[in-house]
Amino acid sequence: MLILKVNKAIALAAAATAALSIAVAPVSAQTGQRTIKGERYVPTIWVDPDGCEHWVMDDGAEGFMTPHVTPDGKPVCRRGKICGVMPTDQFFATDKHFINAAGRQRLGEFFQQAKANGARSFVIAGHTDSRASDEYNIRLSERRANAVAKVARSVGARINDIRAYGERDPRVPNTSAANMAQNRRVEIYCLR
C-alpha cells in the first residue's frame, strides 16, 4: 500500500531526475544460473499503536508501507494486542453459552475497566477445542461470543464485530486436555 502524496506532475519530474541516479547503481545478484536485476530495497519496521509491525521504506520522494504478516495472513505484533482472553471454562458449562450472574458481573467490570483505559470499542472472537464437528463448534463459538457481546453492550461498550472461529484457530495443538482447555476461549480485542 503506497500513498503518493506529491501530485502527478511533480512525481514525474522527481522520477525523471531520480531515474538518472538509479540507473547508475543497479544491483544485480548472481544466484546460480539466474541473474536478477533489481534495486536493493531494505525496509525498516514501524510499529503501529496496536503493537503490530509494518515494513516501511523511504525512497526519497515516495514512501512505502506494507504489513508484516505471517504466511497465514496474521499480523506480526510485539506485545499481546489481545486485551482480554476469557477461558470459556470459567464462564460456560460444556456445550452451553449461558453466562451466570457472577460471570456477567466479572465481564462487565472487565469492559468498564477497558473503557476507562481508553478502549473505544471491542471485537469479540469465539473459539473452541477440536472435539465435536467443525460446524457445531463454529455455531457454539458464535453463541458464546454473542453472549459476551451482550454483556459488553449492557455496560455501554461498543462492539465493532463478533467473530466465530470454532476449532479453526487453536492457540496450541489439541493434543492434551490442558491444551484443549487453552483453546476453549473467547478473545476480546480492545480498540483504542
Partner: protein, 102 residues
C-alpha cells in the same frame, strides 16, 4: 488554490532530493527541509476511516504519506468504526512542519 504554492515548494524539495542520489538507506527520512528527519520507526500515526468504515493507520511524514490497514491479531480488518467515514483523526501530521495547504 494553494496547490500551485505546494507544487512550487515540492519542486524545490524534489530537486534537493535528487541531488542526494540513490537513497541507499531506505529506512530513514532524508529530508532536511520538511521538518524532522528521523528514522522511520518513529512515525506517528493517526486513524483514517475509509468509505466502507474500515480503519487504516495514516501518517503524514512531511513529503511522504503512508497508510496501512489496521488489523486485529486474527488478521481481519477493523471495520464498523465509530469514527466518521473519510476522516483522519489523531496525530498523523506530527512528523511534519512542512506546510500542507490542503
Amino acid at each position: 488554490m494553494m496547490k500551485t504554492v505546494k507544487t512550487a515548494v515540492l519542486l524545490a524539495v524534489a530537486a534537493g532530493i535528487s541531488a542526494c542520489t540513490p537513497a541507499v538507506d531506505k529506512t530513514s527520512d532524508g529530508h532536511v527541509s520538511d521538518g524532522k528527519s528521523l528514522h522511520l520507526s518513529n512515525l506517528e500515526a493517526g486513524i483514517w476511516v475509509d468509505p466502507q468504515g474500515c480503519e487504516h493507520w495514516i501518517i503524514d511524514d512531511g513529503l511522504e504519506g503512508y497508510a496501512d490497514l489496521r488489523r486485529t491479531p486474527d488478521g481481519k480488518p477493523v471495520c464498523n468504526s465509530d469514527l466518521p467515514r473519510n476522516v483522519a483523526t489523531g496525530p498523523f501530521k506530527e512528523g511534519s512542519t512542512f506546510g500542507d495547504p490542503i
